[in-house]
């Protein structure tokens, strides 16, 4: 939209949580933030990564929804669950490979990042990208990203045999073609498995 794309650059995140505060300011979901700032490896590092919805080409959250409540719009944005349909079953929460959807038990509704489509559809940046001081979250034309970033944007993720293509790109090291994620590496319950 308007020649701009959304980029997440984990290496730039300073963990300031401005994005969380900005997200919760939005009038359409005031007080509820739809962005997560996650620690990657809390015992060993303070590194954080902001997680917005990646808006998959084939959204798993919507595929598993038994109530047909999650829709991908024509702008490519995967929306929050439709309020009259959502039954708060949490299927999407379990299914999303990026851990984006969260069920708000108070309203029995799944709410997730919708790339501020009310803003992006009129040429504004999403709230989080507007406030991010290090531009770990940025909504820019691809040319600007190519000029100013050392890494390159990747929107192809491999979860085992599952290939997930997304609308939002993640800035990866220059040599990476696709980001492969071994989910077992990130399981805290598994002790130090995969972490040498």
């Amino acid at each position: 939209m308007f020649g701009r794309e959304f980029y997440v650059d984990p290496s730039r995140c300073i963990g300031c949580r401005s994005c969380i505060a900005a997200c919760a300011e939005c009038d359409s979901h005031r007080g509820v933030s739809m962005i997560h700032v996650d620690y990657i490896d809390r015992p060993n590092s303070i590194a954080t990564v902001p997680m917005v919805c990646m808006h998959c080409d084939e959204p798993t959250c919507a595929m598993v929804c038994p109530a047909d409540a999650i829709k991908k719009g024509e702008d490519g944005v995967v929306r929050s669950a439709l309020k009259p349909r959502c039954i708060a079953c949490s299927n999407c929460v379990l299914a999303c490979p990026f851990g984006i959807p969260k069920v708000q038990l108070d309203f029995e509704l799944m709410m997730k990042c919708d790339m501020c489509y009310d803003r992006t559809s009129v040429g504004l940046k999403p709230m989080c990208a507007t406030v991010c001081p290090s531009q770990a979250l940025s909504y820019l034309p691809p040319e600007t990203i190519a000029e100013n970033r050392r890494g390159h944007p990747v929107n192809d993720f491999r979860f085992g045999n599952e290939d997930v293509r997304t609308m939002v790109s993640m800035i990866a090291p220059a040599e990476a073609a696709a980001i492969a994620v071994d989910v077992a590496d990130y399981m805290w319950e598994d002790g130090n498995a995969g972490r040498q």
Binding site: E58, P59, C65, D68, K71, G73, P84
Partner: protein, 172 residues
Amino acid sequence: MPAGSKPDKPLWTEEFSVYASEDKFVLRRQFTKFLVLTSFGMLAGNVWILIKSLVRRPRTAFPELAIGRASGIASGEVKLFNYPTANDPCILVRTPSGRLAAYSQKCTHLSCAVYYARAENRLECPCHEGYFSVEDGSVLQGPPPRALPKIELETRGEQLYAIRVVENRARI
């Protein structure tokens, strides 16, 4: 992604597509909106018809049309003609009592052509079985809301003329 790009997709992906543009499921709200807008449309149409019927002036000037010789129509016989314009079919009947009567042939219900049923001595519309009296054009049975418009006749010598269409006030 367009529908049908993978032919082996399960049926639910088609019926309850995750892509909003392919969604066929109608929400209660959408349905209610449709009902409300449709009834507003109906209201607007009815108001328009009402205004049109209030503004309309009844036709006052009629041409004269020679139909034929009055003696040429025997009792129980029928002659069709067009009056006042070529697009207004009319029917002329000589009743068994010997009187000549002419009516518009358009049924007042849905404008099907009425015909003369000699055995029952009445004008019948075959579309919805609307029957009219041949004596005064009034409705005998069926859905027609008004009596058939009457064509006023005048005999000059042997020649029969249609001179006017009169709105038929005959009771149903």
